[in-house]
Each structure stands twice: as C-alpha cells, then as structure tokens.
Amino acid sequence: MSVSDQHDLVSVQTHDFDVAFEYAQLRADNAQDGAIVFFSGLVRDFNQGQDVTGLFLEHYPAMTQKALTGIVKKAKARWPINRVRLIHRVGQLHLSDQIVFVGVSSSHREAAFDACHFVMDYLKKQAPFWKKETTHKGDNWVQTLEKDQKALDKWQKDD
C-alpha cells in the first residue's frame, strides 16, 4: 500500500497475530504520538442464537488486501493519524481465537479513537470476508446485521 510510514501494515493471513508486537510497532521510535487505540476481535461462543464451537472465514483473495488498504486510506485522509496496523485472519478459527486487529497511533486522542472505530465499521460492511459458524447443530453462514449498517451510517452523517 502507499503509506507514509514503514510501521504501517495491512495483512490478510491464516496465522495468528501478536498484539504485543503490533503495539510495539505502533510505539517504536514514535515520540510524536501520545495516543494509541486498538481494537481486537475474537471468536465468541454465542452468536445469532447458537452455541458456536468454531468459525471458518472465507474471503475473496484478489480483493481483500485492496479493500482493506482503501479503508485505511480513507481513515488517513479524514483524521490526523500517523501509524495504522490492520490484520484480518482467514481460514479455520476456534473459540476465543483472535480474528482481527486494528491499531492506530496519533498525537490526538479523539482522532485515534474515531479512526480505529471507523476502520472497524467500514471493514464490517465493505471488506469481502464471510463467516461460517460451526455449532453442535451444524454449520451456518453468519447473516449480516442491520446494526452494522447503522454503525456505518454514523460516519456518513458527518461528511
């Protein structure tokens, strides 16, 4: 991606990520940023009315990196943020596994919060990932939620 900083990252990967390492990358040699906000998404045991035992994450390989990079660029154009690290896992995941990480550094607390939140809201609606849950009653594709569209709408009100 076209980025302003070697510490930026957009990665779609099957392997796990290490939050401590990602945090260190946001912080290293960075005395200008007073605020770091991150979001971490995990596989939880209950979703849409079923006991979940695992999750398979399908994606559109040719598109995922491009979509995520576009979302990060939108955030960078909108807020005075510095470093952004975005990781999304694909493939078979288990209970409590890490799915997604978004970390943002900024000299401004509000910008770091808003940009991190924005990236997650856009990713939920505009990046080509699909979750198939494994339950004791069989597999089922996760359905989209109206609240995710509403989460996105709030960023458009401000435009």
Partner: protein, 82 residues
C-alpha cells in the same frame, strides 16, 4: 470474455465458484447477471437475490456499473467479517 466469480453462501447455493462468460462489452453488471440467468434459469432464486453485493475488478459497485472486456465480476452475499 469476462470472468465471473461467486463466494460464500452463494457459491454453495449455485454449487459453482464461477464461470467464463462471452458477452458483448461494454455492458453492465446487471447485463452479466441476466446473461447468466438465461443459460442457468435454475439459479434465478439465488442470483437475483436483491441483498447480493457485486464487485467489478475487486471494487464494490452497483448493478448499473459498467463492465469491460476482460473484467472480473464478483457476486456475493453481504459481507460478515471483522
């Protein structure tokens, strides 16, 4: 020729992850959709689902978006990552 790809629940419903389509270009995503349904009328219920999303060359677009020779057109259910 254009390349058509399907993902997730739609891929399972159609039992197909995609196909190549010989269609006059430029056309629209909707033209692509209709052309597929002409040869595969049994896909009607799934491929005409108004909730489906589509992309041309890996950018999300509306059904009215243009499609050019050699483009990749994708159809898929609403995304649920994150």
């Amino acid at each position: 020729m254009i390349n058509v790809v399907f993902f997730a629940q739609l891929r399972e419903q159609l039992k197909s992850d995609g196909l190549s389509l010989d269609i006059p270009t430029p056309c629209t995503v909707q033209d692509v959709q209709q052309s597929i349904l002409t040869s595969r009328p049994e896909w009607q219920d799934f491929l005409s689902n108004p909730a489906l999303m589509c992309a041309v060359n890996q950018d999300m677009v509306q059904l009215t978006a243009p499609v050019l020779e050699g483009n990749e057109v994708a159809f898929f259910p609403p995304v649920t990552g994150g």
